[in-house]
Every structure is written in structure tokens, then in C-alpha cells.
Symmetry: D2
Subunit: 449 residues, 4 copies
């Protein structure tokens, strides 16, 4: 860790412990129960935390200077990984406090890499300042199997990288100096937020192009443009995640100036592939933190003298100690996998770290679900209630097994990649058999088969 | 199956298919979003279904005549088990439509067995008619480890059957011709319902009694008695389960006439033990149905041509077929365990079926959670949303692993029971060794060790 | 259970307890350590047990009269299932004592159903008498993926039922009044036994036949025919299972009279399909018994005062009680699945019970492996040694997951079968949606989606 | 990695690929089948490999100079970890070729640390030279639960570190200038080897000592001393692991000179604790290699065109790709855990790395068993036979879950260690609640509970 990283980390720890973790339930209490009002709320305590964090220099930590020299912070992805785990212990509020929330993070990466200077001035700068928020509008309502909520990597593999690119139904076409967008999307995270100022919308702009990876474009759509309708919030288990939400959105003859096209016509697929460069394992990093938090809560519960039954601590019953030991081992292993992926991204960019990223993505959220589930069981009915963060954490992590690319996609990718080793293995085996034959003759034995 | 059971079953199937399953989402739509109004709602479509069901004779099917001759229906527990599975496919609305909802079912069992004729007239008859609803008020706020939401069996084992009986803090004392109740409870299912007319409240009436199983009493408390305060609803994952809810309730100097004492002073523990006679595996029966419903939904999704990706059905990808096969096997095994327990209860009452009940209780809800979880994954983001019933089903079943007695309690009980076979096994082993010795001598060999 | 079955069962229990179980280690001690001699041994104690069993009428219990009226015993498959579980507790010796050992059982089924009266006189009668033993010679050395050791059902699905039938390389051709067999097989169970008198050999007799299910024939080959070479025994984990073994066998210009053709030219596939009619779940039945035996051993160990550590019984440590409870539940569920399959075979023959058979086949051996594995862990190093039967049991059961049809084949078959329910489910769902629409209009609500 | 480590590693890789891996089946073929002769064999190819390895400087790599300055090799434990994984791919022969076999490694650590210069000259030097082999004689026959075959760490925790130290029954007493040993041990690895020259025997020398950790002593017993009887070899699954074996040994009035006492009277427990300093995770390191080897074999099998069924590669069936992906992830995670433990041992000695060691010990062997088991299933019947190394690997790794300290001991230790964090967690939680209260008042909200 660099001296800067060390200093930032120790400031971050202090900020989280003193300011952010204590604010979690306050923030929750500031969201109105009223089904309308809750979507119009800017949570005061988070707004205040953002101000403090910015002053402390705890800001945009996710944006690595090595990858984004113009806008980034001098932290490696591994260094941010250590910090992101701590953010993950504090839930959504912690990430937002330091302007490291999805989908803004990925959107900032897109704008930093692909947007024109004018676009950057208008949209990236206020995002970097935390003044506005944003949505990434990709998943089609009534489309093929919905595999993605937040991130983009998997979609590139799963929907766009093949004939399924044809599944994008939203249309983007030029009319004079304007672009007209029509489409019906859903699971658009962040679109419910009153501060959401822009949607990055993926659509078909050239459906006849023979290269199906050049049929799509991405356009910046102001959230308040006429024709943009946020229909409803999709809930996740029972949670609506207001005020951000995961929304169903209709674009009905939405018109934006031609300047809002990002990077050029037919560049949609390329942008999606580039989105989430180093950011691809942010969710995993935070998931390790969430699991650690659940384990810490479990330990507090099972050692709580007020919760004794039959005169014994909860940890003296059943399989509690074994459950804790397994959780400890699973968290430690997952953390090492995430660090290993982060290091590999730092070394070889996301492209050179696909194996490590893929493994982390299917191992870590499942691990976290399991650890949280054990903690829930230790808390009894309280564990599924609003009086602990556990049930909401579970819902979020369970969703991640879909949203950050479904497990099956990563598993398939890693499995296939292993199969490519077959030729080399067979060749090596043949070499060994040749040498074996020589040896067997030398020793006059029959090495079987 | 008796002819009556067969006829009832076929009427029930028709009623569910034609009337109840189609009403599920209608019922949900009739619950207002407003955080106050939703707790004051009697859902119209359910009210209408109850009328229809009563006319069809599909009513109180859970109450077996063999156990409750005065009030019961001529169905064995096994016969009801087959029906309860079908109810389980339809969620809470199905059980309520035929007046087979917890906690009313357990409360009706209590009143049928232990209440005075006057109490039965006043409270049991309208419950049997479905005119009112009820709550069972047992779990202490700030008590020891909360292990129970709905049922009572496990509490008898886990909290009351030992020194933990002392954990009951609610006080019940006589003042003249009145009983005064003070206490703070939570996870009181059904207490939120506008139709809830009575709470069966468990409290300490004789804390100094040397026999700690005679310190408790149960009193009928009208829901509208002064001093009864429903503080808030506990949510389960993000769901509040309005209008019924799982509520926090304070009893502050609540006064009821002496006639409201159930069965006599010091009988609280005995009543709790007797509550849920044959009803002890109702939840398990319904859980099998829920799992079957999830599997059916999964099959529909993975064979849906509109959800193809890369030109392949979802079932052609990854481990989907294996997941379906495992779900099939797990559901079938669980159903057989539940039937086996139901049969044993019919033969030997709940007391003679503790092994079968215990096994069903820790196997079935976990199985259902797993099957539902696979279905969720098959549905992608839609699976965790409000557009399928899967996430809510998962939340309910996950809670059951706590509420119907935590897994660990059942596991411990079954494990301990197995250990009691040790003596007989050792004796048999010794017999075998003796015979072995004779044989070894006869054949002049040394049987090792 | 019929009175005959009840009487037989109680005689069997007595015989097993008094005679067979005590003989297990004696039998083992009677197998010479010498690598040659052990293959020439007829184990004396087993020979004596066979005589006793025959006199008691405990003989050929597997051969159900309902399926084989001429030769069978008046027991249903379910009734035999209960007995087979008890045989399974006693390992190979128990089954052999009552002439119910694979592969003889399947071969007797073949001969009873397909052989000519002359063939039956010559080969079936001595097999039924337990005077000789037999092998079923199917699996090709250097063939495709080896999926089968003992049974035949899966091969019909997996190798023969498709283009893979072409994988059979052994040739069978007529020359004058003789049949000439050339081939190289392995995993031929029982071929090592000195009493093995015949091989039922599957080979290609008509490789050009357009119907690839009529290219194969089965021939009776006397074990001592010139050209039959038992090359070596394949071991299973470190066990050679002498004197029976699982052997590699070469047929080099073996000549048998034309009368040894079974059932006719081109009938090989049909015979394989018919082999193991009711016998298809014999292995599963015995596996339940093996698991029960392992659990019983585990219980004895963990309650043994001589094995206390730190002053505590083993069952007081770690997760032992939970492991025992899970084993109890898993065994009970597996037993119910096996009974359910046996009952279905009794009702609808093996063809009508494919679902139940398939589920039992992939659930039961895995279950037994897991239960045995837990028992091994409870016994520590002794559990993997020759001083308990556990390691050998594990090896046998683990092999069953391959030999009785590999798990994946059964899983695939059950998964596919579930998918066929899709159409009916979709139709039902559509009916429900139609009714829902009517209801929603009636109540003037919008049932979502 | 130091330049020396890098060079050594590349020499080792070449040596293993060119010489050792090809010799595995040759070595096996050189062990006679005869039950007597196999225990008198020095395997020629291994003897030759040892000569070559010594010349290449690939020798005693396990003995880290940092821990044993006088005898060690300048490699850190982490550096050796990378090499040990490669040794693990080659089975027992690979470790033996470079003189890194248990139990010699642990015994060399004992002699290097605790033996007198004379003892070192007589026993350690020839062990370091690979001229003799040795046994570590600890586990009592008829003792408490047998938990240990190879290593010693766990026994110190599990048997000796408590009242169970009293379980040691072997007696060691002085008579004049001699020590007399009487005892009955088993699972003494290496005692069967014709080259085994010494046993390090643990026994009770001062049973009345009040400090029960000073009642034991360790004595060097020449393997050929009168009264040393190797009774039999304990088999592991079906394997006897000749010529080394895991033997039952009786010491009957064995007399050795007083000079053979190691380190002093009453030092037995201290020595056991010190044995396996850095060596505590050697087994884990090799287990990762074994798992990797199994995965490599699986990949070769499922991509083998000769093993296609139904015209498809095996990897196109069922869950094969998912199984491979999971194996990949599990191996990578386990390797990182082992590296992390090795690094921690390098930093803080074994005592400072108990957490990392404990986690590795219960995670790695189970992981390896699982990966090997999947490979077995992919190979079908061949997988359990002698024609692949898989079944023997499984047997070895399964035994490790007992021999290298039973899983339960490590799990318990790690779980207990986590519980010690409770106080700090509670304190932190209280701090957070305090700050929360301030915040809640500031914002005038009620942060619930």
C-alpha cells in the first residue's frame, strides 16, 4: 500500500466508525413511509455526510488514476478493494457518502473514457461532485431472460456478445439534429432518485448492420426530458430501495440533441464492454464486507448473556461454533480471491483478469448469502425483521447473484476456460507416458495399461 | 382416503383452480399502499371466497373429528395433509379462504379442547364461522432468544419446558373479579388484522410456584380492551404481511373479567403443550405445496421460448435440468416424510409421532427454501421482484425455519432420540460378537480385532 | 404385507442376527491373503449359510412370483424391499447366503424370461439352486465412457439406446453350428469366482442392420470355454473384492454351440431392456440398509465411554448430534423413496415406475455415502481401516453411484421428464390468468402485469 | 521469491516432469503382490530418483534455514509451499524422491531442535541423507478416540493438552543405565518400511507428576531392538500403503540405553508441541497439488473424443462444466489460504499463525476430496480402479481429514477463537449506538429500537 493509500484508509476508517455507521438507521428513519413521498426524498444525513467526506478527501475513491489519469484518485484497485470492503459493512449509505455508488461509478467510468469534453463538462463533472445521480438504462422489458440489474460485463457476454444483441428492442434514431428514443426498460437502478439527472440509454440505432456488435448506440437522456416515464419501482424481496429503486421506465418519443450521442454511432457495444473497467469487482469487494458484518453481528448475538436459553449461551448449542468457524474460513477465502482479482486487474486490466473476476463473481455473493443466512438463524425472528440489517443485506446479496451477472454465466465462462487447457494437458501426459515407457523398459516392469 | 375425503378433495381442487388461485393477485391489489390504510382492510375478494367455501363445505378442514368430536370434520390428518399441500400452493389467501389459517387454527384447537362452554360460545363459534380472527400472544419482547412466531410446540420444548419458563415476564394477576395483565410481547401474528377480536395471552400468574410448569396461565383478552396497544408490525424481509402482520403488542393494565381465564390457574403450560395437536405439521404440508408451486413456475420459465438466449432455451444452459431433477426428488422425499408423520399422528397422536414430526420440521422448510431459491435464479431479476410470488414465498419459508421451531431445536431433539438407541445396539453387537467367536472357533480362523 | 411375507421376514431377521451377521468377519478371514489363492476360494462359512438358508426357505427372495410365475417366490417387490434392506446391513455375504446376489439375480431374471427350456434346465436351475454363479459381460474395454458395472438399465439408456449402440465392439458370428465370439470386456462382476460357470455375453451380431437396436445378440458362454481369459481384477478403491471381483476378460475365438444363443438373433438390446425388471432397485434397497448400519455403528462409537476425550462423550463435541439427526432424516426419506418405487413397480412394472426408480437411483447411494462418511469421521483412523466395515462400505456405495447407472444419467432423465409437464402447466396458468382478468374487472382493480 | 528459490523451483519442475511423474506407475509395479514380500521392498526407481535429486540439490527442501539454521535450506515456508504443491501432484513418490516425506520430515524437525549432538550424528544425519527412514510412535491402541495418524499438532491440542494426556498408556521407565519401554500403539506410519531405523516413542515416564504436561517423555527406539513387534499394517480403504504402511506396533520390554532419551525427562509434551514447526501445513500444500492433478485428469477425460457418448463430449453433458468451474474456484481459494498461512508462519512462526493454519487444515483436505470425487465420477468405473490414481488419492485425502487433526478439532478451535472477538465488537457497537443517539437527536428522528 502506498503512503497515500494508507493515510486515506485510516481516514476512511475513522470517518466510517465515527460518522457513517452511526448514521445508518438515522438515514433509514429519514425516508418517509408514505408511498409517494419516499421517492422524493434526498436523505438529509447522507447529504451532510457527502459534504464531510468531500472535505476529508474521501471521495471518488473507486476511480483509479492509473486507469483514468484525468479524473482519477491515486489508488490502485487493490487498495480501493480494502476500502470497498469497509464500505460494504455500512450498506448503501457508506458507498454513497463517499460518492462510490453504483450505477454512478460505472457511468462515471463511461463518461470519463468515452464522452466528449462538452459531455464531460455537463454530466461527468456534477457526477464527480456528487451533485447529481444517474441511471444506466439497458435491460429490456419483455426481452429475453433478464440477467442484469447493475453491471454491464455480463450483458456483454450474455445478451450482446451473440445473436442476442438482437434482443435490444429500444430504438434510437436520428431526426435532423435530434435523436429520438423509444423503448421500454426495467430494473433501471437509480432511476427513482429525485437527484437522478441523466440516463445512459442503450438502444438499436442500426438494426440492419451486418456486424451485430455495431447495431447499438448509447445516448445521454436527461431524466426530465419529455417522454421519460418512470412507471414503477421493482421491489427486491419486499424492499423498494427508495429513493433510488430499480425502476421500470418507458421512453416515448424522447428527443435529445445530437450532441448527446456518446462516442459515436454504433459504439454501444464497445462502450458496454469498456464500462466497468477496474470496477468489475466492486460488488464483490463490498460483499466481503457485508459478510464480515453479518459474522460480527452473529458473534455478538451468540455471546449475549441476555439471550441464554436453558442457562447456556447460544454458542453452546447445536452447530453454532462450527457455523462461525465455517463463516470465518469462507470470508477469508473469498477476500483472498477478491484481492487476487484486484491485483490482477491492476497488473493486466480487466481483460487480463477475466478468470479471477469470474471466480470472484460466482463465489463471493453466494458465500455472503450463506454467512448472512447463518446470522439470521442465530438472531431468530429478529433476524428477518427490520430490527437488524440482516434480512435487507440478504436480499441485496441474493439479488447480486443475478444482477452482477448470474452465477451460471460466470460458472460457464470459467468452466469453458478450463477446458481450453486440455490440449496442453494431453501433450504433457503423452510426454510423461513416453518417459514412463523408457523407465519401464529400463526396470523391466510393466507399468499398467 | 374415505369417500368423504375424496369428494372433499375434488371439490377443493375445483374451488382452488377456479376461484382461489386466480384471486391471489387481485387480493394483493386490494391492499392499499398507504401505510395506515393497509392495516384497516378486510380484503373483499377473500371475504367473498370465504362465503363460497363455507357453502361448498370446504371449511375448517384442519379440525379433525377424530381429535375434536364436537366441532371437527371427518377427515384424518393424512387426508387433510393432501389438501393442505394444495392450500400451500395458493399462499395465505388459500388457507384463509377455507378458514384454515394460523394462528386461528391453533387457537381454535385450544378453545375446542380447553375453553368453557361459555367461552366457546363467545369466541370459538365466531372463529369457526370465520367471522372474527385471533392472535396467540406468547413471545416476550426483551426475552431470551426468540424462537417462535406462529406455533407453540417448540416453545414448549425450548422455552417453557425448562428453567426458561421463568423467562415469561408478562404478569397475570387477579384483582377482585378481574384479571389484570401487564406485558410486552412481539411477533404476535394476526394482531394487526382489523377482524382480530381476541388475543390468547400467556403470562406468569404464580411466579413463586415451585413447579415451574404451573406458574403460567392463559387468558382471553379482547383485542379492543383498554390498554391493548399494537405498537408496530415486525417486517419479514421487506414484507409487512398486512393486514395480518406480526406485531409488537403492549398490554398495559389490561383488565378482563375472571371468566376469561382459560382452563384454570396454572394451566398455561399444559395448554401450550396441547395446542397444535394434529396441527403440528400444517406448515410442513403447506411448504411442500409451496415448493411444488415454485418448481412448476421454474419449469414454465425455462421452457418459455420468449426467454431463449443465444438461441437456446434456458433449460439447455448450465445446470438447469439437474436443478429441476434435484428439486423433484427433494419435493417427493419431503412429501413422503410429511405423509409419514401425518399417518403416525393419526395412529398415535402427536405425542407418539415426535420423531416423524421433528424430522419433517427441519427437513421440509429448508427443502422448500432451496427449491424456491433455484426458481428465483431461473427467473433472474424478475424472481426477486413483485411480479412473481417467489421472493415472498422465500421470505415466508425462510421465516418458518425459525417460527415453526428453529431447525436447531428439531435437529437436537432427533439426534438425542437416536442416541437413546445406543444401549440396544451395544447389546446386539455383543450378541453378534459372541456368536462370531463360536463360528471362528468352529472354522478355526481368527476374526480380527 | 401378506402372512407369508411376514413369516418370511421374521425368519430372515432371526437367520441374519443369529447366523449371518456373526459370520461376516469369519468369511473375510477365510479369504487367503495370497494373491493367487484368494481367487480360487469358495468361502466355507458362506457355503454352509447357503445350505441353512435353503432349508429355511430363505432363498431366491428377489424373484417375485408376480413377475416370474414359474420360478418365483410369492413376495411383492415392496415386501422384498423390506428384506433387502436387512440384507444390505450384512454386506455381500448376506445377499449371497440367500442367493440374492448380483449379477446372478439379473441373470436369473434374463434366463427365466428369455431362455429356452433347455437353457433353463442347464443354467437357470443350478443358478436357482445356488450351485453355480454367473457373470454378465457387457462393458467394452476401450469403449466409450464406461458407465456400468453391475446393472443394465442405464446402459440401455446411455450406451445402447442411441447411436452409441454402435460402441459395442465384441463380435458374435455364426460359423456352421457354432457361434464364435471375439471381444475385450472389463468390469465383469463375478467373473473371478471359481464357481462362475457362465457368462452372458453381449456382442454385435449384425452390425449392418439398419435398426441399430437389432444389431446385438446375447450368448451363453461357459466360463471354462477355450479362449475365455480372465486377465485381471479391477480394484475398487483398494479392494479387489475377491473371490468375485470385477474382471477384465478377453474372448478370443471362443466357440459355443448355436443352442447357446439367447432368445434369438438381434434380441440383445431387447433382453438388456428386460433384464432387471423388478430388480432395478435392489441396490437401492440394500443401500438404505448399509446407511442404517453405518448410523448404528456411529451411535455406538459416540456413546462409548472408553472413547471419551476431555471427559466428554464424542457426541458432546462439535456437530456430532446434528450429523446423527441429519443421517436419521436422510435415511428415512431415502427409505420412503425406495418403498414408493417398489410399490410403483408392483403396480405398474418397471416401465411404469421410471420416475420413482430414477429418483431413488440418484438419491439413495449418495445419501448412503454421506451417512457412511460421517460414521467414518466419528471412528477416526479406525473408520478408514479394516477394523470397521465402514471404508469398504463406502467404496462399494461410491462405486454404485457409477455402476448402477451414473448419477448424471438418472438426474438428466428425471429433469427431462419434468420438463414434459411444461405444456400442461402453461395451459393451467393461462386458465388462471383468464379467471383473474374477470375477477380484476369485477373488483375494479389492476392485478399487475 | 528469492533467486535461489526461483532456481530451485525451476529445477524441481524439470525434475518432476522428466523423472518423477513418469516413474509413478513404474514404482507401483515394483512393489510385489506377495503379502510378505511387499513389506521387504526398497523400490528401485525411488532409490535412483533420490540419488538424482540429491545431486541436483533438490533435497530436504522442507527444512527452512530460517527455522533450523544448522541443517536447513534457504527457502521460506511460502517458497516451499509452492514446491510442495508440485510434489503433491506426484503422490508419495515425489515427496520421497526429494526426502520430504512424512513422518521423516517431522522427526527431522524434532531431532534438529531437541536432540543431543550425539543423537543428531547417529540418527538425524542419516535421515537427512535419506539413508534411513523413521516412525513417530504416538497413538495408543485401545486408547481414547484415535485422532491422529501422521502429524502431532492436533494431538497436542486434542489428547495431550488436557486431562487426556493421561490417556497415554505406554510406559517408559529407567532401569540402571537403560530405559525400558512397554506399550501397544497403532497407526504408526512408516513402521513397516524395511529402511525404518528408528521410532520416536512417546510414553508416560512420570505418571504421578502433578503437572500432567510433564508426565511424558520421548525416547529413540531402534526399529530392530528386541521386543519391537510390528503386528500388522492398518489399511486405509483397501490400501496397505506398503512398504511404509500404518502399523500396529507392540513394545514389549524394549530396552534402550539412557542416551536415547530425547531432550530430558518429562519433555515429551513440549517436544510434541514443537514438532511440526513450519511443517504444519505441508499436507495442505500437497493436497492443493493433488486436487489440481485430479482436475487436470478430469479435463483430459471430458475432452477425450474417444469417450464421447451420443455424439457429444462428456463435458457437454449434465453439470460437468459447472463441476469443473467450481473445482477451479475451490482450488484457487484453497491455494490462497495455504499461501496465506505459509506467509504468516514465515512472519510469526507456527504459534502466530494458528488461525491461518487451522482454517487451511479443515478447508483444504475436504476441498481436495470433493474435487477428486468429481474427477472419479467423470472417469466412471475407471475412476475407482487402479488404472487411474484417483481412488488412491481420495483414500489418502479422506484420511487426512482425520490424520492431520480431525476437521472437528480445527473447526472448534477457529470458532472459539472468533468468539473471543465478542467483547471488542460489543464495545464498538456501543460506541456506534452512542453516536447514533446524538445524530438521531440532531435530526429529530427516532432510529428504531
Amino acid at each position: 500500500m502506498s503512503p497515500f493509500a494508507k493515510e486515506t484508509l485510516s481516514k476512511l476508517i475513522k470517518f466510517l466508525e465515527d460518522e457513517v455507521y452511526p448514521a445508518a438507521r438515522v438515514a433509514h428513519a429519514q425516508i418517509p413511509a408514505d408511498p409517494e413521498a419516499r421517492w422524493k426524498t434526498v436523505i438529509p444525513v447522507i447529504a451532510d455526510l457527502k459534504e464531510k467526506a468531500k472535505k476529508l478527501g474521501l471521495w471518488n475513491l473507486f476511480l483509479s488514476k492509473a486507469h483514468y489519469p484525468q479524473f482519477g484518485v491515486p489508488l490502485t484497485n487493490l487498495e480501493y478493494g480494502v476500502m470497498a470492503e469497509l464500505l460494504g459493512r455500512g450498506g448503501a449509505i457508506a458507498s454513497e457518502s463517499v460518492n462510490c455508488s453504483a450505477p454512478d461509478t460505472g457511468n462515471m467510468e463511461v463518461l470519463a473514457r468515452y464522452a466528449s469534453p462538452e459531455q464531460q463538462q455537463k454530466w461527468l463533472v456534477p457526477l464527480l461532485n456528487g451533485d447529481i445521480r444517474s441511471a444506466f438504462s439497458m435491460t429490456e422489458r419483455f426481452g429475453a431472460h433478464v440477467v442484469n440489474v447493475h453491471s454491464a460485463l455480463e450483458l456483454t457476454i450474455c445478451v450482446v456478445a451473440s445473436s442476442d444483441a438482437t434482443n435490444i428492442r429500444t430504438t434510437i434514431r436520428q431526426e435532423g439534429n435530434e435523436i429520438v428514443i423509444n423503448g421500454h426498460k426495467w430494473y433501471i437502478s437509480g432511476a427513482g432518485d429525485p437527484r437522478c439527472a441523466l440516463h445512459l440509454v442503450l438502444g438499436k440505432s442500426d438494426p440492419e448492420n451486418k456486424d451485430k456488435y455495431r447495431q447499438q448506440s448509447i445516448v445521454i437522456v436527461p431524466a426530465n426530458a419529455p417522454g421519460v416515464k418512470v412507471v414503477r419501482a421493482m421491489s427486491v424481496f419486499g424492499y423498494d430501495d427508495a429513493p433510488e429503486g430499480h425502476c421500470e421506465v418507458i421512453y416515448e418519443n424522447v428527443r435529445v440533441p445530437i450532441e448527446n450521442l456518446v462516442y459515436g454511432w454504433g459504439k454501444g457495444f464497445e462502450i458496454i464492454q469498456g464500462r466497468l473497467g477496474p470496477g468489475r469487482i466492486h460488488h464483490c469487494m463490498r460483499s466481503v464486507g457485508a459478510a464480515q458484518q453479518a459474522l460480527d453481528l452473529m458473534i455478538q448475538r451468540v455471546t449475549n448473556p441476555a439471550k441464554k436459553t436453558f442457562g447456556k449461551f447460544l454458542y453452546e448449542h447445536g452447530t453454532v461454533i462450527a457455523d462461525i468457524a465455517k463463516s470465518r474460513a469462507e470470508i477469508d477465502a473469498a477476500r483472498l480471491l477478491v484481492y487476487s482479482a484486484a491485483l490482477q486487474i491492476d497488473k493486466a486490466k480487466a481483460k487480463g483478469a477475466l478468470k479471477e473476476i469470474g471466480i470472484a463473481k460466482f463465489v463471493v455473493p453466494s458465500m455472503a448469502c450463506q454467512v448472512i443466512d447463518r446470522a439470521i438463524q442465530a438472531y431468530g425472528a429478529e433476524g428477518v425483521s427490520q430490527d437488524t440489517p440482516l434480512a435487507a443485506m440478504y436480499a441485496g446479496l441474493r439479488t447480486l447473484r443475478i444482477a452482477d451477472g448470474p452465477d451460471a454465466v460466470h460458472i460457464q465462462q470459467i468452466g469453458q476456460r478450463e477446458l481450453t487447457r486440455a490440449d496442453a494437458l494431453v501433450k504433457r501426459q503423452e510426454e510423461i507416458r513416453k518417459r514412463e515407457k523408457v523407465l519401464a523398459e529400463h526396470y523391466k516392469v510393466k507399468a499398467h495399461m
